[in-house]
């Protein structure tokens, strides 16, 4: 139950962390990429459109110039020559020769047509004599104007061409000087215009007919051409740029300029995909960066969060454990205090009982009781009271030593002073057990930083153990201190007794908690393990050497701080 509750808590914690981290790291990323892309998009589109419009306008101008130039050439010929000389085919041929050599074969042929449509003279590759143009559209239109450029048409000769005509008025007579412009030369003006991979140009007239060779995809007039005418008419601009779908449904960018006084449209068409291919590539790169970065962030967030939550979890567990330990320690301490209190309080009444019994014993020794038949029984009972009193004393002393509160604050202390104090306390007990304590302390020991209280406990435990061991036999305890030669930077304390020693089988276990060789009720088996714990905590070492019958030798090494 508890475990479930905890794992739920940690799961929601990690989700919170993950979501927060993702929000924090993705928001700026998305914003930066978005703003950059938008800005790039806008400026790139502007740039592309500007480029396209410049291109189209330049070309439109070129084409217009080309047309007006050809008209001007023709006009010059017509002005410089009389109708009579022009009507002479020989002269006309010469003129054509001149024009062709001067303008790189753009002019295909020349013809002179009178106002009734009859061709008076002709120079060129086609044998067109005595032809009448009276019904031809271009003738009708050209007669109305001084100068005229026709749409592209197939005409009599069966392939596309267009006509440039100039009207000449001389002594009441009107004639038209007509020239055919090489379609290839004109067409190349437009066909050379290639933009990107899909961009090309063409020219439409008002009827939507191609004035240049139609692109491959078109068999007939492109549909929807009226849109451009309308757009041009509506905006009253000679140039528009727009984006729309063509017949195949592809999105295209159109740049449209009107030509020839608004009779033709130069249309440049490029697929949007192609026009903005750089932009698309840029967008793709941005998206890829975003995805890779995003994945990296997600993975990082996931792993970091997992590690963090795991660490938090461990820390929580440790804290909980510590709390439990603190509670446990607190409990133990209060139990200890209670035990100590009880032990102290019991000591006094027990002492009184024992003394009262002793007093009765004293009284019984007087003569008047010597005759009493129950004297022996009295003495036995008193002795029993005494024995049980001593037992009580042992119990309370055990309790007290178990519950003994030691102050673990460290101080700079002289080890020899502590040893002298403890020996002073123990000497009474030692004398009672017929044990002498000899001290052999090196006088110039450095100060060490330990808890004196804990050191006292260790020494007292070891001395009491030695006294217990020699309870029956008596003997000597030798305590010596010196700078250790085996362990540099340590002081060594050696406590040697000449009691019965510790059997080899037990030697390895004497520091184990609850290990005791004393009779049940006499020892807790904690004394040496407490010593071991305290010395370990000080950063020192304790060991024991012994053999049965040869006494025991405890050595304690305490590090000296620099």
């Amino acid at each position: 139950m508890i475990k479930d509750k905890y794992s739920k808590y940690y799961r929601s914690l990690s989700w919170n962390l993950i979501l927060t981290a993702i929000a924090v790291s993705f928001t700026p990323l998305i914003m930066v990429i978005g703003v950059l892309l938008y800005q790039f998009n806008v400026s790139y589109q502007e740039k592309t459109q500007a480029h396209l419009s410049e291109l189209v306008q330049k070309h439109a101008q070129n084409i217009d110039t080309f047309l007006t130039e050809k008209l001007a050439n023709l006009r010059q010929t017509s002005v410089n020559n009389s109708i009579e000389s022009l009507s002479n085919s020989e002269v006309l041929r010469e003129k054509l020769q001149n024009l062709r050599s001067e303008y790189s074969n753009v002019f295909v042929d020349l013809g002179v047509v009178d106002d009734r449509g009859m061709q008076l003279a002709y120079a060129g590759p086609y044998e067109l004599k005595n032809v009448t143009y009276a019904d031809a559209d271009w003738f009708k239109a050209a007669l109305q104007l001084d100068m005229y450029i026709s749409d592209v048409f197939t005409g009599l000769r069966g392939h596309p061409h267009f006509i440039v005509a100039v009207k000449k008025h001389e002594s009441g007579r009107n004639i038209l000087l007509r020239a055919t412009i090489d379609f290839k030369a004109f067409n190349s003006l437009v066909q050379n215009l290639k933009i990107g991979k899909t961009g090309y140009a063409y020219i439409l007239n008002r009827k939507g007919e191609f004035q240049t060779s139609p692109p491959l995809e078109y068999k007939a007039s492109p549909t929807g051409y009226e849109f451009f005418w309308n757009a041009v008419a509506k905006t009253k601009n000679t140039f528009i740029i727009t984006q729309r779908k063509d017949e195949s449904g592809t999105e295209n960018l159109y740049a449209v300029a009107s030509l020839k006084d608004g009779q033709w449209l130069l249309i440049v068409k490029q697929q949007v995909k192609d026009a903005f291919s750089d932009l698309n590539r840029m967008q793709n790169i941005a998206v890829i960066i975003f995805i890779i970065g995003g994945i990296a962030i997600l993975m990082m967030v996931y792993y970091t969060t997992r590690r963090m939550v795991r660490r938090i979890r461990r820390a929580d567990k440790e804290k909980e454990f510590m709390n439990q330990q603190v509670i446990e320690t607190g409990k133990m301490a209060s139990i200890g205090e209670l035990a100590a209190g009880i032990a102290h309080e019991i000591n006094n009444p027990v002492a009184i009982m024992v003394e009262e019994a002793g007093w009765i014993g004293d009284l019984l020794e007087e003569e008047e009781f010597a005759q009493s038949s129950n004297l022996e029984e009295f003495n036995r009972a008193l002795k029993q009271i005494n024995t049980q009193g001593r037992r009580c004393k042992e119990i309370t002393h055990k309790l007290l030593s178990f519950a003994r509160k030691t102050d673990s604050t460290v101080k700079d202390v002289q080890l020899n002073e502590i040893i002298t104090e403890i020996v002073g306390i123990s000497s009474q007990m030692a004398k009672y057990n017929k044990v002498t304590i000899e001290m052999n302390l090196q006088p110039t020991l450095p100060y060490i930083t330990i808890s004196p209280s804990e050191m006292q406990q260790v020494l007292l435990n070891l001395i009491n153990n030695a006294l217990d061991a020699m309870e029956k036999t008596g003997g000597t305890i030798q305590i010596s201190t010196k700078i250790s030669e085996i362990e540099p930077g340590h002081i060594v304390i050696i406590i040697q007794d000449d009691g019965p020693g510790i059997p080899e089988a037990n030697l390895a276990r004497v520091f184990d908690p609850f290990f005791t060789t004393k009779p049940v009720g006499k020892g807790t088996g904690l004394g040496l393990s407490i010593c071991y714990g305290i010395i370990n905590k000080m950063g020192g070492k304790i060991d024991v050497q012994s053999a049965s019958g040869q006494g025991a030798r405890f050595r304690i090494w305490i590090p000296v701080q620099k």
């Binding site: 102290h344 309080e345 000591n347 006094n348 027990v350 002492a351 009184i352 009982m353 024992v354 003394e355 009262e356 002793g358 007093w359 004293d362 009193g389 001593r390 009580c392 004393k393 002393h397 007290l400 003994r404 104090e421 403890i422 002073g424 306390i425 009474q428 004398k431 009672y432 209280s453 006292q456 406990q457 007292l460």
Partner: protein
């Protein structure tokens, strides 16, 4: 000459213990002055001769340690033995450093107590002898310049002083 009793100042707030232990010690060559407070002990030591003080530690008012200090200050040659039901290493160290001869815990074997008290008395006698040796030297110094009557007078004083202290 009858055996001289040892003057024992017995201080314990447990009246019952005071009575029973007192009676037993009284039966064993001790002249027991039993009081139940530290303050009274100090008072008694001023008016009566005391060889050894047997002091409990935990008492209302002046406690054992304070009593020990006060007695040792006023009577440096007096020996003090601590007998307490509230023994601890720290207080044992404090008391032995404060000049206590021994530190025993209740309940205590009478034999052990007697042994300790006798030892304390031996020490007490030795230090008194030293003091008296000093006085004798002083006296001998003064003898050179004084009349026999004055010397007799002085000897009498010393004898009285020895009985009282």
């Amino acid at each position: 000459m009858k055996k001289k009793k040892i003057n024992l100042l017995f201080v314990d707030d447990e009246e019952q213990f005071l009575t029973s232990m007192g009676k037993r010690l009284e039966a064993r060559e001790f002249h027991v002055l039993a009081v139940n407070r530290g303050e009274k002990a100090v008072e008694t030591a001023r008016t009566s001769p005391v060889d050894i003080a047997l002091i409990d530690l935990k008492m209302p008012g002046m406690n054992g340690e304070q009593t020990l200090k006060a007695l040792k200050q006023e009577h440096p040659w007096m020996e003090v033995v601590i007998l307490t039901g509230h023994g601890s290493i720290d207080s044992a160290v404090e008391c032995t450093q404060g000049g206590a001869h021994s530190y025993l815990q209740k309940p205590c074997d009478l034999e052990q107590l007697l042994e300790v008290l006798k030892e304390a008395y031996k020490k007490r006698v030795m230090s008194r002898n030293q003091i008296e040796g000093g006085r004798m030297d002083e006296l001998l110094q003064s003898v050179k310049f004084k009349s026999p009557r004055e010397i007799l007078q002085r000897l009498k004083e010393i004898d009285e002083g020895a009985n009282n202290s």
